[in-house]
Amino acid sequence: MTQPRYRKLKTANHLQRLMQWHYASARYLRMGRPLAWVSSGAPVEILRAMGVATVYPENYTALCGAQRQAVGLCEAAEAQGYSPDLCSYARTSLGSILDGEGAPMRGLPRPDLIVACNNICGTVVKWFEAAAAHYQSPLLVLDAPFLHDGLQPSTLSYVVAQLEEMVRFVERTTHHRLDAVQLEETVRLANECTELWGEIRALCKSRPSPLNAPDLFVNMAPIVVLRGTHSAVRFYRRLKAEVEQRVRDGVGAIPDEKHRLLWDNIAIWYRLYGFYNLFVDYKACFVADTYTGAWSQTLPPGDGLQGIAAAYATIFLNQSLEYRAALMVRLISEYGVDGFVMHVNRSCKPYSLGQYAIRRAVMERTGMPGLLIEADMCDARSYAEEAVRTRVQAFMESLAEA
């Protein structure tokens, strides 16, 4: 695999051990705890507080992508009739269900229950329906209506009603009860974790930036899968200390940083270093991104389900294109960015279909150039190596001249 052409983090080894422990314990060390499959935007704090172990098919499929194992699994799903135009996370996941022996870690362990929240996309509903049908597992779909114009009171009550139903659903399927003190403690740990993550991302405002986007993509795994646990808090404390040290020492993620870029959309997992190295050639560092910030929203403490509902209903991908454009404009000014790159991701319609409109708006409001790269997050067959290289070169040369 291509190596990063910039400074490696010492914390990388801890990350690897933490993730190995997470996947191994989900399979072998659950000590009788039921296992839930959850979508990345589902309120995991409730499950954790109720003593339910969790795994994230989205994180698993991203790992398959990064290990370049996703294409074979996509093909297994396509052989069963799933269209190659569908989301490659979904195809990778369904392929690993149908062909467990050929999948990394032999796929995910069988779920006792499944929770999907459509605050990130409608695809998780159909994908998790298929998984639930395969395993005959109880499935709860949480409906967080898309917010074209902010959160309405009726939308909030609707999501709260569903979280109350989620508690009853978990009680029915696992016979575990929700303990208010346990929920409060889980929310506190989750908030500590998201605050640390937010602080680490904010450290990239320094010049040179201590981290490049692939660092964030790799190190976001615990915030997704272990949010609300002590081990995630410990990991991010350690990571933050290392990043702070870099800032104090004036050490950048890439040598001799010249250009500062903003990234939009999910990572290109199978070219995690190969693709970003193209930019390192021009001394360009991705100092901010819209993707890993999706997990930096804290939950109002002491507010129970109401606060959880408000936070999960208003996540980044559940908000209007105007909201997303405004966020990018803000990141550009806060991080001193001089150009942005948008991954037009064939697999993610909610993230990608509006990018042309956002690009125009952001360019108009900031004067910064924006590059569109069409590719896919997991399916390497959609990556046109030469075309991507040419586009990146043309963009970076014009940025260097500007």
């Binding site: 009739g81 209506p145 114009d149 009603a161 569903q162 294109l321 037009v344 279909l353 042309y356």
Partner: protein
């Protein structure tokens, strides 16, 4: 743009609702606003909007259906600020099985209250932004009119075997393209005439399923090859007219009830009845010999559903064929696949 749009409310506020469909034509301008993997429907209607073909409209109502329409509503707001874009966001989770239901009627948690609030919010928006209030008596009259249209469409549907596809198709498609009063008149007069296809033709009988059937090629080819459409599960077909609104109830509550109960689209989550079961019962009731799945290229919800649906059809030994329609794809493929399918049914 979607069969879940509460047309009764728009009509009662004095609007003439028109459903936006593909209608053919090249897509060029829209390519600057949508990536190549957007569905043909999104690209075609955006093209017509950018060309100014839709300037006769007072506004566009987007109904939350799929990820694509969700983005499209905002893309239109940003690309064409002159357009009045309204959003109506009905629940994704509709009825759940009575065994699991928290509510008394098999409702998903909170879904009825939320849907009711959205219907009222739409009516308020029409009153505030268009000075077009929805009065209770007007809404009752609109509900009665649309119920009449749905009843007539159901009668038409029962006689499908006696109509050619090209006779039946414009009658159902125009339900949301022309003023409902006129459509009801056309349906009444059409139902008085006998059909021309007649049972004597005796070609293979088909059930069509998919999203909207706005491509004239498919009915045309079915006729040319001697097939007969005897039933459908399309959102320009039976999913549009399935289930009437209760005229005795308070009108907003009655509308909410209908939209929770009608046959669901694959964008919706329901545990009440799998879509495969519904299609199989339609096959049994209509006596269809084969099922034609019409999939719009890049339509995710239907593409996901096609897998369990074709499995259910296989398990019940019901022959099926999938037609992937794409404005840029050559028409020959649809014809070849349908021809092979109809020949297979005849042997």
């Amino acid at each position: 743009m979607c069969s879940y749009a509460p047309l009764e409310i728009l009509h009662a506020a004095g609007f003439t609702p028109v459903r936006l469909m593909q209608m053919g034509g090249d897509v060029t301008l829209a390519n600057a606003h949508l990536p190549s993997f957007s569905c043909a429907l999104a690209r075609a209607v955006t093209e017509r909007m950018l060309r100014g073909d839709l300037d006769f409209l007072h506004g566009v109502l987007f109904t939350h259906t799929c990820d694509t329409l969700q983005c499209l509503a905002d893309i239109w707001r940003m690309a064409a600020p002159r357009f009045r874009v309204l959003n109506y966001s009905l629940p994704t989770v509709l009825a759940v099985s009575p065994r699991r239901a928290p509510g008394p009627n098999g409702d998903a948690a909170g879904a009825r209250d939320y849907l009711l609030a959205e219907l009222h919010r739409l009516a308020e928006t029409l009153a505030l932004e268009f000075d077009a209030p929805v009065r209770g008596d007007a809404l009752r009259a609109s509900i009665a009119l649309y119920n009449e249209q749905r009843r007539l469409l159901a009668v038409l549907h029962a006689r499908l075997g006696r109509l050619t596809a090209r006779e039946w198709w414009p009658l159902t498609l125009s339900a949301t393209l022309m003023p409902v009063e006129e459509h009801v008149r056309v349906l009444r007069s059409r139902l008085d005439e006998p059909g021309t296809a007649q049972d004597v033709r005796g070609g293979p009988t088909l059930l069509l399923t998919g999203a909207l059937l706005d491509d004239p090629l498919i009915p045309q080819v079915i006729d040319e090859l001697g097939g007969r459409v005897v039933g459908d599960d399309l959102c320009t077909g039976s999913r549009y007219w399935d289930t009437l609104v209760d005229e005795e109830q308070e009108p907003f509550a009655a509308l909410a009830e209908r939209y929770l109960r009608r046959a669901p689209c694959p964008c919706k989550h329901t545990t009440r009845e799998a879509r495969g079961e519904r299609i199989l019962s339609l096959v049994r009731n209509t006596g269809a010999q084969g099922v034609v799945l019409v999939l719009l290229k890049f339509c995710d919800p239907h593409a996901f559903d096609a897998v369990p649906l074709t499995r259910a059809l296989d398990a019940a030994d019901v022959p099926h064929v999938t037609l992937e329609t794409d404005v840029s794809a050559p028409a020959g493929q649809v014809r070849t696949r349908l021809q092979a399918f109809l020949e297979m049914l005849q042997t």
